[in-house]
Symmetry: C2
Subunit: 165 residues, 2 copies
DNA sequence: TCAAAGGCGTTATAGTATAACGTTACTTTC
DNA sequence: GAAAGTAACGTTATACTATAACGCCTTTGA
């Protein structure tokens, strides 16, 4: 149940290949529905972002593309990332200047993230409780909230156990 | 009451000079208590950050210092900002790479911000509701939250009225 | 007074992101 | 299926954000 909500980020031995292939399939479907073109390059960037549940920087992606012989410059990567962001296929972590795959693409939602400072993995939440608290607090001040970013750092279960404290 | 919680950010005609002088007085007191040195330069940077309720970038501060004839380079500004952050006198807005004055310094607290996309002003919250929702959601997944960043963008009361919609 | 620590100047560089322009490739319309 | 329009991409240059590293000077406390 928990791991269903959080995604498999903090489940060390999950079948990650399935994460990736499911993400790619869903992406293809989302793009089809939205009439967007998931070109090979965009698809490859998405796949690289999904290579782990850790946020990845744009310039790391750039190096990886180049290592594959793809002729890329910063705009190559940023364009792909912008496309993936616009279509809700990845998220940007503001506090890290880095990107992670979206675990429930298709439906727009606010970004809520647990970021483990031990293993660096990130789990995405979609918690009504948080959304409601945020919207209610804003509304109390006459502020109409349109979007919220919630980034929670700390230690995941696994890292807490293996770190003494 | 509301404006007490939110600070005066969204109150267009508040007496901003009082905001600034209070912030500087409080800062002096906080530093005294903590045995920290609020040097003229640090004080000046804090004052510049407080010049408005809009987040200000490090390089804007740098230009302002230089315009005053102060011989400054990027590290000058970043050192002052780091000091002010460490002592809880300012906050960094992750989604904007910019800084705002802290409206209730002294007591450590998580950063929760309302960012108006109309006037660019920022109000700081310290909402138990949000903190509780965040901590509860994290705990449900076995994650121990240590710090959270909440940045809410939208329109403040004033801008919503003056923007048609 | 002297040793240690802190603050700051200075230069260089790392890391993140976008502007602007031209070309190629896809798609739509006739 | 050719022309026109749009989207994707290559390329170069540059802007913006942040830190490393070293040395000097000032303050602090023994």
């Amino acid at each position: 149940m928990s791991s269903e909500t959080a995604g498999p980020a903090f489940t060390p031995r999950h079948d990650h290949d399935r994460c990736v292939s499911r993400a790619l399939e869903t992406a293809a479907e989302v793009c089809r529905r939205q009439g967007a073109r998931l070109t090979p390059q965009r698809r490859r960037v998405l796949e690289l972002v999904w290579a782990s549940h850790r946020p990845v920087g744009a310039y790391t992606l750039l190096e990886e593309l180049r290592a594959e012989g793809i002729n890329a410059a910063p705009p190559t990567v940023y364009r792909a990332l912008d496309f993936l962001l616009e279509h809700g296929l990845i998220h940007r972590l503001e506090s890290l200047n880095a990107f992670v795959g979206c675990t429930h693409p298709g439906k727009p939602h606010a970004g809520q993230f647990l970021v483990c400072r031990g293993c660096q993995e990130v789990a995405e939440l979609d918690e009504r409780r948080i959304t409601r608290a945020v919207e209610a607090s804003a509304a109390d001040l006459g502020f109409s909230a349109e979007h919220h970013t919630v980034e929670i750092s700390g230690l995941c279960d696994h890292c807490r156990e293996h770190a003494g404290e």
